[in-house]
Amino acid sequence: MNAFQASVRSAMRRFARRVAVGHFLEIWPLWAVPSLLLAGLIALVCRMFFPSAAEILVWLWLAPVVAIFPAFIICIARAYRPSEIVALADSLDGGQGLLLTLLETGDPAWTGAPALENFSRRPLPRLRPRRLLWKFLPAAAFLLAALLVPQRVPAGPGNTILANDIAEDLKTTLAELTKRDLITPAEEKKLEEEIERIRKSALERVDSSSWEAADALREKLAANLSEKHDALKWAQESLARYAAASAQGVADNPAHESDIEEIARAIETLSRSGLLADAPADLRRLLGGSSTATSGNVRLATDARSLRKLADSLSTYLAKRSEGLRDLSRLGKESGWFDPSEYPQFSYDRGPDGDGDPGSGGLNRGRGDAPLTWGKESLPFDRFKAVALPPGAVRSPDDWAPVAVLPGAPKASPEIGAQAPAQDYAGTAGQAAWRRTLVPRHRSAVKKYFENSPSAR
């Protein structure tokens, strides 16, 4: 292009740049549109099967940007040659052929021709971005629609969430008990193993048994707490009785001896339940050594003074532990148990159906967040109406007439005998009912009330 004048050369360079831009914008959509469609497809697949990818899907909008690179490479490979650029320019300039001729011959004699000056003043071809936009719109709409599809959560991973949820509740309870020294390390380890077993079981399959197992463990914890509470209460009561007897000065009374015995048994129970494990040192000393607190072998002092001192010290310690246990009285019952007081909005005052809207729940229609499908209910005027039956009439004895008169005593009727199996079933029907509804851990508790053997009753 050196054959051209500076002004023509400059115009030709501008023209070449504009053509290159137009060429790129012609090729880029050929890659960008499929890339958008591919991104839409990927978004759809992720929405259906890969929930974990949901957060990065928005980056798919960068697909057209990525398509710049292959488009750029193709643009370079198929770039307009200088002769093609000049031919284009010549054609747009009226097809005079002078630009082409000068490119081929380089003859300087014609560089000042008026036709060349006209070219340098000619406006560049105009870019038409609307054509570009129309190519993009359908593909971009597809990607947008794919991104707007709600994320589908597969059923499988839900078990993990539920299993972790069940285990988390139990672990929280266990941690609270450990924090308050209400369980021994051995019990803690055993409970942890049991919680893990429940969690693994729930990972495989979540059904009513998973919740029942969790409830059973909670109940066990609650029973353990209750046992401790009972032992503590017994000890406090026995100490109170001893204190009252001592105040009345009946130390030689045999009944007083029995109070001391009761205190000893109560301390043994306390020791077995682990409540004396963190007793203060002076109390341990009064109880007969550190081993008493754990082994339960109590050797109480015989003199009244030491006994009174022990009673005072023990009363103080038990009062402190009693406060901690009172705080934990609801421990183990907080999770998984239905407590109407937690749901005041579903109180019975609002009617058995909650607020009456389907899906809003109600105390007698399942959990509030459960999907309710009631089908088509009868309208009030369609419901069954009470219809008064005609009054019954007692048949007159005169209507009875003997069919036959047989000699001898009456015999058992075969029709009555045929009813026997039904009667047998009726006798065990109640038993079958509770067997189906009660969980296994409760059976032993109520079994004795339903035993058929007379000895059990």
Partner: protein, 345 residues
């Protein structure tokens, strides 16, 4: 610089040539009123050493144009009125037994073809045999009789005329002979204003007196200059694509060519376009051929070289109309603007 590069005609040389050609053209325009396009085509073919077939109704100035050319160019001019009983020897000449210095011998009497400018008037009225007598003369510019070959004067042009009507008793020119004509120029009727001008300026219809506009040497210089006019590669590519697309079996052929054209143009068609475009470029004062010159001469150079199907006649398609469709279908440059760009006027 391109290895094929060659020096162009200088602007001064081109301007000088244009002045001379313009003198000739202006004089012709004085004779034939309102036929500027036809005159340009004839002069372009003349500058490119091409023969021209003029087709038009009687009285449109075909013969007058040729006669004016002969006067303006100081050429030897012969006219042959083609008739059905015309013999080939009436054109080429024949040997006649003559007595010379007591001896009888055959002496060659040159026919009217031995001239610079031959007007073959109503060429389609002669028999094919007589028409064929012009074949060698037109293509090789020589005549062979009795085994002797004689070169025709240089320059040698044939300007033939034919009447598109009154076809009874005529012999349409065979394709081989039509191919020898560089251009087939169709002469249309005159417009009302031109008729009015003719009536005012010419009492008996006689043409104005003419003086020679170009000498033989000037004409030879012009012939040399025409051959020097540059044909850019891209323009040559356009001509090649145009001619290739005139073949119905070509991949680039437009639908109209596939439907109505039996045989496309021969390579002579491409050569004729190139040569005619060179002549027209010089006439326009350009040192090179452009796409515009090619578009301008494509119809007279290609139309008579297309062998049309009978369906074309039924549908009202002729050669010129098909060439127009070709020009619309074939882009001048092989690789156009990207679709995202729009040229501004």
């Amino acid at each position: 610089m391109n290895p094929e590069a060659k020096s162009l005609l200088t602007p001064e040389a081109v301007a000088g040539a244009q002045t001379k050609i313009a003198r000739l053209v202006n004089e012709l325009r004085r004779v034939i009123l309102g036929k500027e396009q036809m005159i340009d085509e004839v002069v372009a073919a003349l500058l490119a050493h091409g023969h021209v077939l003029l087709e038009g109704l009687p009285g449109l100035g075909k013969t007058e144009l040729v006669k004016a050319l002969s006067r303006l160019l100081s050429f030897n001019f012969r006219r042959i009125q083609f008739t059905p009983d015309l013999l080939p020897t009436d054109i080429t000449g024949s040997h006649i037994l003559q007595e010379r210095e007591g001896r009888k011998e055959f002496v060659f009497h040159p026919g009217p073809v031995f001239t610079n400018l031959l007007l073959a008037d109503e060429i389609n009225r002669a028999s094919p045999k007589t028409q064929a007598a012009l074949l060698e003369a037109m293509q090789e510019r020589r005549v062979t009789t009795f085994g002797e070959t004689r070169v025709l004067p240089d320059p040698f042009f044939v300007l033939a005329t034919q009447n598109p009507i009154e076809l009874e008793g005529t012999y349409p020119l065979p394709e081989a002979q039509l191919d020898r004509f560089m251009f087939k120029v169709e002469i249309a009727g005159v417009e009302r204003q031109v008729l009015e001008e003719i009536l005012v300026t010419r009492v008996h219809g006689e043409p104005p007196a003419l003086e020679p506009a170009l000498s033989a040497s000037e004409l030879h210089t012009l012939f040399t200059m025409v051959d020097t006019v540059h044909l850019p590669r891209a323009v040559a590519n356009y001509i090649a694509r145009l001619v290739a697309a005139s073949h119905p079996k070509s991949a680039e052929a437009p639908e109209v060519v596939r439907d109505f054209v039996k045989y496309g143009s021969s390579p002579r068609g491409a050569i004729a376009i190139g040569a005619g475009a060179r002549g027209l470029a010089l006439l326009r004062g350009k040192p090179n051929v452009g796409f515009d010159e090619v578009r301008r001469v494509a119809a007279p150079a290609l139309a008579h070289r297309l062998v049309l199907d009978y369906a074309a006649r039924l549908e009202g398609w002729d050669g010129r109309r098909i060439v127009s469709a070709l020009l619309e279908a074939v882009p001048d440059i092989e690789r156009g603007l990207p679709q995202t760009l729009e040229a501004q006027k």
